[in-house]
Subunit: 457 residues, 2 copies
């Protein structure tokens, strides 16, 4: 260990290598509710791409497991290191290298947070639309998981916004993919291959990202429904209208209560309505000016009413912001409530009705509570599972994932597989696809030192 430590110190400087003490434990976990933390032997904080390459060459030589770490806000254990392994923290590589206003592009280091990028973009009237509900997340982490979030229904997930990457392979070789052009047909798209690969193929050291014009006018509608079925049938109608809302979120009544209670937020829905509500749809819309916004909001309100909403509340600005923020912090409300695990299964959006019906049956069979919120416009269902027993919980979740698969869906829409969902992933994946993924992994990382255990178990 001490030999390796001094080699690492030779690359990044002694101040940027941790090998002992309580601090190591800080690098042993993410926000996954059910994954056991793992203490690394080394935490290294490189400051440049060539330092990342130098560290990876040492790791390759000593066959050290390497886990990349941004802000540690992941929900699937994807940044939990192997015991005895090395954590590559990108905390020091946190510079926004360029905001290119003519091309609407940002060039960032992986340790930049979504909040920092959003603030820097806003100064130029631009926005990076990935909005997974945790603005302290790093760009590196969001690329590793192909993060989505509430604005994905309008702008699409991370995959859509990454134009190019610089990344370092396990061998220490530096790879450059894509660039500022918004389209390419020049060889295999390695940018897309690395996005969502959860740190198992290469470590991203720089990303070229698309920015979008920031639209100034925004409105929030909240519609309570007497049944979840009505909510899920309202969604395709709204999307078919061509209005193109920014967010389209559903929350079942129990989740809503939990979210609002935790945040002490009153959005002014009378008790009488609340009592008959099974689920809410939150529709956020943005436009270039308030005239267009008002016209669109009127159309949306009519669509919601036609689809059977009990009522439609156009929230005042402050209340609107509060409820978006409360939804953003739903995970923390859930955590405080003693939830045992979460899933972010995804299904074709029109299959949500059937899928959520199946989930209800599974929960009833297990006599356990499973509550949900989700990116309804994307069919991305976040389920919170209350079942303290690990074995029983595993079975319950297995049945939910199988139901998602049966509805034409998959294990994860945006959180990634990490280690938390490896079993489910391996069970549901197409065997031919899985075999190809293993071979791709081998081409990038022949010794398997990058995030072993993640994705492939």
């Amino acid at each position: 260990v001490s030999d390796v430590a001094s080699l690492l110190a030779g690359v990044v400087g002694p101040d940027n290598v941790l090998t002992e003490g309580a601090a190591l434990a800080d690098y042993g976990h993410d926000e996954a509710l059910s994954v056991t933390p793992g203490q690394p032997a080394f935490v290294v904080k490189p400051g440049t791409t060539s330092e990342v390459a130098g560290v990876l060459r040492i790791a390759s030589e000593y066959k050290l497991a390497v886990t990349a770490r941004g802000s540690g806000t992941g929900l699937s254990g994807g940044t939990i290191p192997r015991p005895g392994g090395l954590v590559m923290s990108f905390a020091r590589m946190n510079q926004i290298l360029e905001i290119d206003t003519a091309n609407h592009v940002a060039v960032v280091q992986p340790g930049v947070t979504l909040a920092d990028l959003e603030a820097a973009s806003a100064e130029h009237g631009l926005s990076y639309p990935v909005y997974p509900g945790e603005m302290s997340a790093s760009l590196g982490g969001t690329i590793a998981t192909n993060a989505g979030g509430m604005r994905a229904v309008k702008y699409g997930v991370t995959r859509r916004h990454v134009l190019g990457l610089e990344a370092v392979l396990a061998s220490g070789e530096v790879l450059r993919t894509g660039g500022k052009p918004v389209k390419l047909s020049s060889g295999y798209d390695l940018t897309q291959l690395i996005i969502g690969s959860e740190g198992t193929l290469a470590l991203v050291t720089e990303a070229t990202l698309r920015l979008y014009p920031r639209l100034p006018a925004q409105a929030v509608l909240l519609a309570p429904f007497g049944s979840l079925t009505k909510v899920t049938t309202a969604v395709p109608r709204i999307l078919a209208s061509g209005v193109g809302p920014l967010m389209l979120e559903y929350m079942d009544a129990r989740s809503m209560a939990m979210i609002l209670q935790g945040e002490n937020t009153d959005v002014g829905i009378p008790d009488s309505v609340r009592e008959t509500t099974q689920a809410y749809l939150m529709v956020v819309h943005e436009e270039r000016d308030s005239g267009r916004l008002d016209a669109d909001v009127a159309d949306l309100a009519e669509l919601l009413a036609d689809a059977g909403a009990t009522d439609v509340y156009a929230l005042p600005r402050a209340a609107g912001r509060r409820i978006i923020e409360a939804r953003e912090r739903a995970f923390w409300a859930v955590k405080r409530s003693g939830a045992d695990d979460i899933l972010d299964t995804v299904v074709p959006r029109a299959a949500m009705v059937t899928f959520l019906g199946e989930v209800e049956k599974i929960a009833a069979r297990h006599q356990r509570m499973v509550i949900g919120t989700g990116h309804a416009g994307d069919g991305n269902v976040h389920l919170v599972v209350f079942e303290p027993d690990e074995v029983a919980r595993g079975q319950l979740m297995r049945e939910i994932v199988a139901a998602a698969k049966a509805s034409g869906g998959a294990v994860s829409g945006e959180h990634g597989i990490g280690t938390a969902k490896v079993k489910h992933f391996l069970e549901q994946a197409d065997p031919v696809a899985l075999s190809l993924m293993r071979q791709v992994k081998k081409a990038f990382d022949p010794d398997g030192i990058l995030n072993p255990g993640v994705l492939f178990g």
Copy 2:
């Protein structure tokens, strides 16, 4: 040959195997201007995925080069077979299997044309937005090249719209990727890897595609500019406005003359304006209703005038349609004019000014004509090269590609590399990326039977 032919006939039926006669030559070319046709030994027309698999097993056993063919409208020689090889024609696999209106998804076989899919989608108020200017192109071919086209500035290229694939590997194994969900974070995205791989990794037998609401109101603006620089500075302003036009096309004066002459189209621009015009910008916009459309068109016209347009013409419906169609058929006008080759280099859109300036210098140095049109909103520049001498043309094009690369761009934005641009691609590609691409190719197709010569030379 006759042994193999009877094996193939055993899989697809004798009527669906061609081994001799003039018909073979029809399968030996695409629309690339400068690639020598190549006569295949076998043309096979499978009707099902399992027939495709059966043919590939035979090809693997006999180490036959296999080239997939849709409509043969490609522009890079990507569907020109190896002499003695096998062409897998998807002409019979041309069924639209499903238009799923609730999910806004189409499931198609690879031989379906863009025109057929557009017609079927329109019946449900939906649209598949890929619009590369050749509606007889097959979906399989557009996926193989990651086709773009005029609507990509608003909707993005093919990559954005393919949600899932069924594809057959060289071994005959059938791979399934993705599905109807619009987002996934469940392992490497093999869908994205296959898109743009030009038939070198796997043969697509089914695709799940996103459809979008069809917006009913459309307007066409044509703005002549006294200089190309003004055009390319107008583009970022329009994109920054947030109006979000459907098309943003530039045509230099010579291209415009060629396009309009060929089509016998008069769009009513007075000679006096025409004479001082160096380039045109065509802006097409669509909206949900005519009120919004009119307001947007007024904003766009003001933006164009502010950016220095000599005038702004809002074309009447029929003239607007004619000019879009004429632009769509620009390739044929170019071909008739005796052009020797075309390029579809791509650069960051704000770099178009510099890049086109470099192209002008290169053309002047070679004393040859190079004219251009392009998807200005995407920085995708279509250049038509007039230089009959093959060696001199190769050098001229090499310099243009190097200039694109120097501007942060790449060889091809949407046509693909095929065999026509392999040299340029290999010269400009990142060596680490290229080495990984070769390894990925090996993982999918260990014997290298799928489209040998394409991409990697």
